[in-house]
């Protein structure tokens, strides 16, 4: 019998239609991946099955779990089912755990709430579960607190909580999005093993098609609250019917061709850069210790070069970015732009030549300013900023260059989508024609189709303006296509630096090899989905 059966599920909140006639099913022991871009309704589908919808939501259609109609259950009955019959793993392991309770107590909580076992046996069961998810008793006693664990370890605890009562169905909402690639590979492996072992159904929600292709038995592609295509993974991958599915896969694997860089002449030189952070004092009189986030890093970025910087979270790449921008001081070493040393004191001569695009398209702008004011902020560094019609012409030209309309200058940022905001951020970085632009995870928060557009835009701008940039990212597939040369950073040090193709084709350092091996790959699609 089908484990989870969703038939013609429609959901509206107020007048807003979230889901339209969604039908899908999950069998026992099967991994079904629901994928789609933001706003496609994939998370709402999962929340419907959990009965965790906002109170104002109205539903029609049916959701049945082993023949029980979930939509007809009262809240008390749903509480019984949650944890017992359905387990859930959330995206953000940093917030999914209660910081003041030990991991043992949190795993036991599920067992105790459902009165499945008396407390002493529940404790033993919690221990077994933590062992099962790979947190061994000697290193991870039950008394550990969440803050003592890394992101991947916390996600293991969350999974242990979800499978505590051997639910028939496990729902995982973007379980690896917040994790590094090497950790992601381990967590996906764990989930796959658990499904086989417990004969659970797993409904995994993810935007990452490489993960989907790698893990799922069946794929459900959603857009605007509708299922556009569904099928067994291999069949669907090799025979995509819907244009949206084709577009999605093409965009995930989007390749661009960069123009040839000019002859190398050094632009940015980083020589022996060291950056320490003071740690909190252990006691009042002890000298505070230091954490060395960037250890003796040296590299050169040449004029017209597109340089990548890859590393996992905590490797020091953001710290290095801030040091290059002159936002934070170095403890030793030197960073020079065109021969001038970069320091934290404001030097307009240097400021004018360097700009930055940040990751978060929502936090990068003052919400109270209009676009024209936002993108002209770097004019502050100019000796004679353009005024009057020269200014408005430049604004219009820059907005057109990033694919927006000149009329957009009078709007506020909240009127734009995430991808459009990232275009505005690029416009701001571009307007003074800086010699160097830093992209700090600039496409990481974007949907794949939007990301593909932004990558195309970067190539166009490279051709038009001969950009030099440092592209900082954890996403190997993006770095591979958008850079000429690439640096790999681990624990504050650059472990490998070579031409990008060389690094991917022939990685020398073991860490680079591990990174490339862990990154989920889209299979080669013979039909050429583009």
């Amino acid at each position: 019998m089908t484990l989870l059966d969703i038939t013609n599920l429609s959901l509206r909140i107020g007048t807003h239609e979230i889901l339209k006639e969604v039908s899908l099913s999950v069998e026992a022991g099967e991994i079904v991946a629901i994928t789609g871009e933001s706003g496609s309704g994939k998370s709402m589908t999962a929340f419907s099955a959990m009965g965790l919808l906002p109170e104002t939501a109205t539903t029609s259609g049916g959701i049945s779990l082993c023949g029980t109609d979930l939509l007809a259950q009262s809240e008390a009955q749903m509480c019984d089912l949650r944890g017992q019959a359905i387990g859930m793993v959330f995206q953000e392991p940093m917030t999914a755990l209660n910081p003041v309770k030990t991991i043992g107590d949190q795993v036991m909580e599920t067992i105790l709430i459902h009165k499945a076992l008396p407390p002493d046996q529940a404790r033993a069961r919690a221990r077994e579960l933590l062992d099962r998810v790979g947190l061994s008793a000697d290193r991870f006693p039950l008394g550990r607190f969440p803050h003592e664990l890394s992101g991947g370890q916390r996600q293991r605890v969350v999974i242990a909580m979800a499978i505590a009562l051997r639910p028939k169905l496990l729902i995982a909402d973007e379980p690896t999005t917040a994790l590094d690639v090497t950790t992601q590979a381990q967590i996906l492996e764990l989930l796959r093993d658990l499904v086989r072992e417990f004969d659970m159904g797993l409904m995994i929600i993810t935007h990452d098609l490489a993960v989907v292709a790698d893990l799922a038995d069946r794929i459900v592609v959603m857009r605007h609250g509708e299922v556009v295509e569904t099928g067994a993974t291999q069949t669907l991958l090799h025979n995509m019917q819907h244009p949206y599915t084709k577009m999605l896969f093409a965009a995930s694997n989007h390749q661009v061709t960069l123009p040839e860089p000019p002859a190398p002449s050094p632009l940015l030189e980083v020589k022996g850069a060291v950056r320490d952070y003071p740690l909190p004092r252990k006691n009042l009189f002890a000298k505070p210790e230091h954490f060395r986030a960037v250890k003796d890093v040296s590299f050169t970025l040449y004029r017209g070069e597109r340089l990548g910087l890859v590393g996992e979270s905590g490797c020091g790449k953001s710290t290095l970015t801030r040091a290059i921008l002159g936002l934070e001081p170095l403890q030793s070493g030197e960073i020079c732009l065109d021969g001038m040393a970069i320091t934290t004191t404001q030097n307009p001569e240097i400021r004018r030549r360097m700009q930055v695009v940040f990751q978060d398209p929502f936090g990068s702008f003052n919400p109270r300013h209009r676009v024209d004011r936002l993108i002209t902020e770097p004019f502050y560094t100019l000796i004679a900023p353009p005024t009057g019609s020269a200014r408005s012409d430049l604004i219009a030209e820059t907005l057109r260059a990033v694919g927006l309309q000149p009329e957009d200058a009078q709007k506020y940022v909240h009127q734009f989508s995430g991808g459009q905001r990232q275009r505005i951020a690029i416009a701001r970085a571009l307007i003074t024609r800086p010699e160097l632009i830093l992209f700090d995870e600039a496409v990481s928060a974007l949907d794949v189709s939007v990301r593909a557009q932004i990558l195309d835009l970067l190539v166009e701008l490279c051709e038009a303006y001969g950009l030099s940039y440092l592209f900082i990212s954890h996403d190997l597939s993006v770095v591979r296509t958008i850079t000429d040369r690439c640096l790999v950073m681990q624990k504050g040090e650059i472990v490998e630096a070579a031409a990008t193709e060389e690094i991917f084709a022939n990685p020398k350092h073991p860490y680079t090899r591990a990174l490339i091996a862990a990154a989920p790959q889209l299979p080669e699609l013979d039909q050429g989905a583009a």
Binding site: V356, S364, P378
Partner: protein
């Protein structure tokens, strides 16, 4: 617009209106004594009755509103005018000696019970409205400095501030251009609440005779005067008491309502 905001604004504007009208018109001269008409209950002629000198209570309440509002307004002005720049400076130089000095000085002021020190100040420099204003104002400074620093610190971490720094803007310019407009909501709400506390403090100081001096009417002193007669003329105490309650309640409701209304995050949550 919530019920709180409407009710609060209504009550507060009633008090402000009374204070404004008192400049051009009051039913009687609030200083004119009329001994034969003393201690009257509220009636058609004297709407809220008369006190032990036969002065019209309604007129005194109206003029008293003026005193309360003036004292609280200037006190909040002092608190904001000094506290906000101090808080912005502390946030902009987080962790520096300037930050330490400003915040430890704030802690020092906070460490003393405000009303007791206000009494001390007025006792040393003499009773009077000006000294009361200064005393209340000084204790508003750390309130605004702290709230400004706290809110500004989280903004300093935002990427649009980093972008402004990359554009070469200095701390002072970023504070004025980016930080202040984004914490204005918070300051307005806190200002309303401090305003009501200022009115309470002024009433308290006047009650012990350290606030506005006669003949300037003050709600606090009216309460003090009524104290001995509360057994046979309770309205003498009830009326200024109610005036204080209504004003403070109105301002607090307004502050609460404003916070809900101005904070887009809370608005979405509802």
């Amino acid at each position: 617009m919530t019920r709180n905001l409407i009710l609060g604004t209504g009550l507060s504007s009633l008090v402000v209106l009374a204070a404004l009208v008192s400049f051009i018109w009051t039913p009687f001269d609030h200083t004119a004594m009329d001994i034969p008409a003393k201690l009257q209950q509220p009636n058609g002629n004297h709407w809220l009755g008369t006190d032990h000198f036969g002065r019209d209570i309604f007129s005194m309440i109206m003029v008293g509103a003026r005193t309360s509002i003036a004292v609280a307004l200037v006190a909040v002005g002092i608190g904001m005018g000094l506290g906000v720049p101090l808080g912005l400076a502390a946030a902009a130089n987080k962790g520096s000696w300037l930050d330490e000095i400003i915040m430890r000085a704030n802690d020092l002021v906070f460490a003393f019970p405000s009303l007791v020190i206000a009494i001390l100040i007025t006792a040393i420099f003499g009773a009077g409205a000006i000294n009361a204003i200064a005393a209340i104002g000084i204790f508003n400074i750390p309130v605004f400095a702290r709230i400004t620093r706290g809110a500004a610190l989280s903004l300093w971490e935002r990427e649009f501030i980093l972008a402004a720094r990359v554009a070469g803007k200095g701390a002072a310019r970023i504070s004025g251009e980016h930080i202040l407009p984004n914490i204005a909501n918070l300051l307005i709400v806190q200002g309303t609440i401090q305003f009501s506390l200022g009115i309470l403090a002024e009433a308290g100081l006047s009650y012990v005779g350290l606030g506005a001096q006669p003949p300037t009417p003050s709600w606090g002193r009216m309460l003090a005067d009524a104290q001995t007669m509360v057994s046979f003329a309770p309205h003498l105490a009830l009326i200024p008491g109610s005036a204080i309650v209504i004003t403070v309640l109105g301002l607090n409701l307004m502050g609460d309502g404003l916070r809900d209304w101005l904070d887009p995050k809370l608005r979405l949550a509802r």
